[in-house]
Amino acid sequence: MGSPLDRRRSTARIERTQSALSYAILVTFVLFVVFPFYWMIVTSFKGETQMRSLVSMFWPSPFVLENYQQLLGRTEFVAWYGNSVVVSVSSTLLATAIGTLGAYALARLKFLGRAFMASTVLITYLVPPSILFIPLYAQIRNLGLADSLTGLIAAYPSFTVPFVTWLLMGYFESIPVELEESAMIDGATRFGAFRRVILPLAAPGLLASALYAFTQAWNEFLYALVFITNVKLRTLPVGLSTFITGDVYGWGYLMAGAVLTTLPVIAAYIYLQKYMVEGLTAGSVKG
């Protein structure tokens, strides 16, 4: 240790090495994360001859749209897309509505059984689908809902609602009680305070949890695989998985389908990243 100037200079050097190291690790992480997506997109634009020959591995040459044409024209992909949209949107609306009311009650209201229900919601959120899928299937079939989108819409709340409720409980708890109390002193009813004061304040949380519910439903595979046998009624994940043929030709339109399946969730995520990251960390794991 020499003069203060020396020390400052060596601190600066340490900081520069640290930041270089940070960037090196960051680049490694980003490459690791991004490469599979890059590869998916590149593959989807490669032609049949290029696929078989290992030339220009990392860029389509020639750049072709035949995979997308085949996907949209000669498979049931469009129907599957519609099914996924219907199932995901309805179960998201359902989950958000049920979850919002329940979360508010569990976070704010005082009534018998509140603590018990709050624990039940959390435990339900943690019960894995791999335990429930067979009895749920039996139940859905007994109700005559097997092989229908309604069956999926009825089953998906089993995982979306506990998640949304748990996430939103965190949000509601973070809103100061005083806001509600002052609204009620001003003459608002409890419900009025909930609707006009709490809901607007929780809007980012509602948005985040709705998006997560949508993503979960959009990505769901096991129930959709088990409940649906009719080819036309498949959702995207199951439909895509049936494209695995072991044949070289398959990969082009499979990757085209993968691109189009990923697009909506990634687009929503990019657009609302701030809320989703905050929602995830504020709601599921806080403290």
């Binding site: 624990s119 009825a154 990634i266 990019i270």
Partner: protein, 332 residues
């Protein structure tokens, strides 16, 4: 018509009376108000709105989780084929599984898969969080990019890796053989028993580590800066600061994420089903995939559910410990 009928306003008057219990109690105690007060005392002050708002969740939990779960426990103690009525056999399914070599192997594989994935995800997640707390530009952009595998559909990710791992035309073999020249010949990543497990763990890690990273990051951000300053004044090195300030500060979050991911990974069906279906020769067979195959391949539902429930006591323990952690960190 209904809006000008006197009934609703009459209702409101009574509801108002309920919210001002003092006036009701001082005056002659009308039976209704007394009942209402008693109900409030027993059921809690907000019981009406509370019960109303919670009812949908109660119905849902009963119909979609509690009932199926009870039915599953019952079915696991029967001999049940698809389309046939169940026959009670007691614990026979469980006893038979205990002595079944294929099942034992699936248990071991499930533990290997879970343990391997969770450990690597913890290390990578910690790295990600540390990088994202260090001084870099466009931090929130990079955070967003690194979180993408977590939002992308699992099926898509699994299919991407199926294609990347492909023996003859996959890009991984191309990179290792033609670009870097590390190997002379490609590897059948998913078709050789020696590499299949590591390959599926790799996919689970790729998809799951961002969640670890983002959660650890949130924990690190919550540590007060003064603690680091105090440590720096005391002459603590970077490593010491990490061990004595960062780690204790995020201990709760680390526990929650570890346990959460243990449950998720142990029950991960999609990745292994898409990549290997448990193969080659059972080398990656795990309990969820085995459950599915016994149920819908062999059509033996009772036995399949016994496979799914076999680890339930252990799982229940993890779930209870975890939910306690999550509730505790919520209360703060």
């Amino acid at each position: 018509m209904a809006s000008i009928s006197p009934l609703p306003s009459g209702e409101r008057v009574r509801a108002r009376g309920g919210s001002f219990p003092l006036t009701g109690e001082v005056a002659t105690p009308r039976p209704r108000a007394g009942l209402e007060a008693a109900l409030r005392r027993v059921l809690g002050p907000d019981y009406r709105m509370g019960f109303l708002f919670v009812t949908p969740i109660v119905v849902l939990v009963l119909a979609l989780v509690a009932y199926p779960f009870g039915y599953a426990v019952y079915l696991s103690m029967t001999r049940k084929y698809v389309g046939m009525p169940p026959v009670w056999v007691g614990l026979e399914n469980y006893v038979r599984l205990t002595h079944d070599g294929f099942f034992q192997r699936a248990v071991v594989n499930s533990f290997t898969f879970t343990f391997g994935s969770v450990v690597i995800k913890t290390v990578l997640g910690m790295g990600m969080a540390l990088v994202l707390t260090s001084r870099i530009r466009f931090r929130s952009f990079w955070t967003g990019v690194l979180l993408i595998p977590w939002v992308a559909p699992t099926v898509v990710s699994a299919l991407n890796f199926l294609w990347i791992y492909d023996y003859s035309l996959g890009v991984l073999n191309y990179l290792l053989v033609n670009v870097f020249g590390v190997l002379h010949q490609g590897v059948g990543w998913l078709s050789e028993p020696g590499t299949a497990m590591s390959s599926v763990i790799g996919v689970n890690v790729w998809r799951g580590f961002p969640f670890f990273g983002i959660s650890f990051l949130a924990g690190m951000k919550a540590i007060p800066g003064e603690l680091y300053e105090a440590a720096a004044v005391d002459g603590a090195t970077v490593v010491q600061r990490f061990r004595h300030v960062t780690l204790p500060g995020i201990r709760n979050i680390v526990m929650i994420v570890l346990l959460l991911s243990t449950i998720w990974t142990f029950n991960d069906f999609t990745i292994i089903y898409i990549l290997t279906k448990g193969g080659p020769g059972g080398a990656t067979q795990v309990l969820p995939v085995l459950t599915y195959e016994i149920a819908f391949g062999a059509q033996r539902l009772g036995e399949a559910i016994a496979v799914a429930l076999y680890m339930l006591p252990a799982m229940a323990l993890v779930i209870i410990v975890l939910s306690n952690y999550m509730r505790k960190s919520r209360v703060r």
